[in-house]
């Protein structure tokens, strides 16, 4: 290969070159996703263990513990109620935590993103692929409590097949939120504030373990802005049957949340990754 050959940008390999454009290039996304997949093959056991076991413990502890005291909630057995609620919790935990900690560590300590951004990948593609990866993974993990609940007597309808999609949409939004938060926290210790002040209320005040109508009106009203509430409602709907136009509202809520957090994550990460 000579210098002269290389100085011809219109050669046959020009086809393979990225063009100057602002759209997301599929190949760029695929490259980042491929990296995540190869790395995942190295640590999937521990990640999968905690992502599956933790919600299962919640499910069984609440299902049998509270289920012994409360026979029915909103017309369903308590185990069924909590079994569907825990799906949302599993997705939340499997998305927001890896997004916050993993992204922070990769950026600040491992400098992984500096390496990726030296390749033909831009920040928007990087953020999108990272959120997509975490979203798909958490959506998959969210199925674990559903399977456990089924083993204990839950009998979902066919609409249950959309649960993975709900999980991925939720996981993408919370992953993007976590990525955004990782770009603004001053240090990794600051996530303690985020977890106490944001993540805990998100997963408790979403109708996961108890119906929101038991709460003071103003708390119940506030839950509408909790994206996880929409996830819970959609998961329950898909298991026990949808009614009316409400699911469309919930879906719109989830997608709007994902769009906002994704935009924030792109802006936030660009600010910290590009000088």
């Amino acid at each position: 290969m000579s210098v002269v050959d290389r100085a011809v940008p219109d050669g046959p390999e020009a086809v393979d070159r990225p063009r100057a454009s602002t759209r997301l290039e599929l190949r760029a996304l695929a490259g980042v996703l491929h990296r995540e997949w190869v790395v995942f093959t190295r640590y999937w056991r521990s990640t999968t263990f905690s992502a599956v076991v933790e919600p299962t413990i919640f499910l069984l502890a609440f299902g049998f513990g509270i289920g012994a005291l409360v026979a029915e909630v909103q017309g369903m057995a308590y185990l069924e109620f909590v079994g569907t609620g825990v799906v949302a919790m599993a997705v939340l935990f499997a998305s927001v935590f890896p997004a916050m900690f993993g992204t922070y560590v990769k950026r600040r300590f491992q400098h992984t993103y500096d390496g990726i951004l030296a390749a033909p990948i831009d920040v928007r593609e990087l953020v999108t692929a990272e959120a997509l990866w975490i979203g798909v993974r958490s959506g998959t993990y969210g199925l674990a409590p559903l399977l456990v609940a089924t083993a204990f007597g839950l009998r979902p309808g066919w609409a249950v097949l959309v649960v993975p999609l709900i999980g991925v949409a939720t996981g993408f939004g919370f992953a993007a939120m976590g990525i955004f938060l990782s770009s603004i926290v001053p240090s990794i210790d600051s996530f303690g504030y985020v977890i106490s002040a944001l993540v805990t209320p998100l997963f408790l005040l979403a109708g996961t373990f108890f119906p929101l109508e038991n709460l003071p009106d103003w708390v119940a009203a506030g839950a509408v802005i909790n994206p996880l509430y929409h996830t819970v409602e959609l998961v329950r709907g898909s298991v026990f049957g949808f009614a009316g136009a409400a699911p469309l509202g919930h879906l719109a809520g989830l997608l709007a949340f994902a769009a906002v957090t994704w935009s924030a994550a792109v802006v936030g990460m660009r600010r910290v990754l590009i000088d």
């Binding site: 210098v3 100085a7 990225p18 190949r27 990726i116 951004l117 390749a119």
Partner: protein, 300 residues
């Protein structure tokens, strides 16, 4: 058909970080096929310049062009044809050498059918073929650095950016990396290498740009720079501080640059002197003398 006259062209580039001007109205052109050494102390602006070349830093003023692509607009197109070897090791420790290179071959868009061969070739280039399936966290420091270089070469880039490639390596490993860089250059790859090791620039660079305070303050082949600033001979004189100050004063009167290190003054361009400054040891000048003379800073 277009021809690119320069692999890199920076014109009037300024980059500020708050109150600090890291790169200050920098002009830098690098013809294709040469190895350029960016020489400067820490804080001279070398690393910022390197980041500007991949659009990981965006200039506040001026224009940046890499392989004919204006940055940041065509950054991805430029980056696809560049290989970057960062100063900081950011290998994915949990992967094997092969997995790491395969990941980057894909990020750099090596066509699927060529990936396996590209990975094997890159491993061979840095003599790590026998470690292909070793986990990165089990490799020695020198091997990791070699792998980092292989990662930057897996897609056969036309331009390679090496940021302080041999910092913290023992002399033997450093020699090995030097011969690798020399090979790249001999194959016609354009190499830009930032370094604060003078001997590295002297050994590898066809052309050296001396940076200080965000600007290139002189530029030329090592030989030309030495001839221009250090002359043909350097005379080193020892003595107590008063004597040394006297020597410096007399050298200055003769228009000769000096550098002081400990109990010694080195007078540059000393070839025309007889015994005027006193008895001393005469040696050949080195790029280091140029650096000190031009920047007014000792090498750090």
């Amino acid at each position: 058909m277009t021809t690119i006259s320069h692999a890199i062209a920076l014109r009037g580039v300024t980059k500020r970080f708050g109150a600090i001007t890291a790169v200050d109205r920098l002009d830098l052109e690098v013809p294709a096929g040469i190895c350029l050494g960016l020489l400067g102390n820490n804080g001279a602006g070398k690393s910022t310049t390197m980041r500007l070349l991949t659009a990981q830093a965006i200039a506040d003023a001026g224009t940046v062009e890499v392989l004919g692509h204006p940055l940041p607009r065509e950054a991805k197109a430029a980056r696809a044809r560049c290989g970057v070897v960062p100063q900081r090791d950011n290998l994915d420790e949990e992967l094997t050498a092969t997995q790491q290179l395969a990941v980057f071959a894909r990020l750099y868009r090596v066509p699927r059918r060529e990936r396996r061969a590209a990975v094997a070739r890159a491993l061979e280039l840095v003599e790590l073929s026998d470690r292909a399936h070793t986990r990165i966290d089990e490799l020695s420091g020198g091997m990791r650095r070699r792998l980092l270089i292989a990662r930057g070469l897996v897609h056969r880039p036309e331009l390679v950016l090496l940021d302080e490639p041999t910092v913290g390596l023992d002399p033997q490993v450093r020699q090995d990396l030097w011969s690798l860089v020399a090979r790249l250059r001999d194959e016609g790859t354009t190499v830009v290498m930032s370094t604060h090791y003078i001997e590295e620039a002297e050994e590898l660079a066809d052309d050296v740009a001396i940076m200080a305070r965000g600007r290139v303050i002189d530029r030329g082949t090592p030989r030309a720079l030495i001839a221009r600033h250090a002359g043909a001979q350097v005379r080193e004189l020892s003595g107590d501080p008063t004597e040394l100050a006297a020597v410096e004063a007399r050298a200055r009167a003769l228009g000769l640059p000096t550098r002081r290190r400990g109990p010694q003054v080195a007078v540059l361009r000393a070839e025309g002197l007889d015994g005027q400054l006193g008895e001393g040891r005469t040696r050949l000048p080195a790029l280091e003398d140029v650096f000190v003379s031009v920047t007014g800073e000792e090498v750090t």
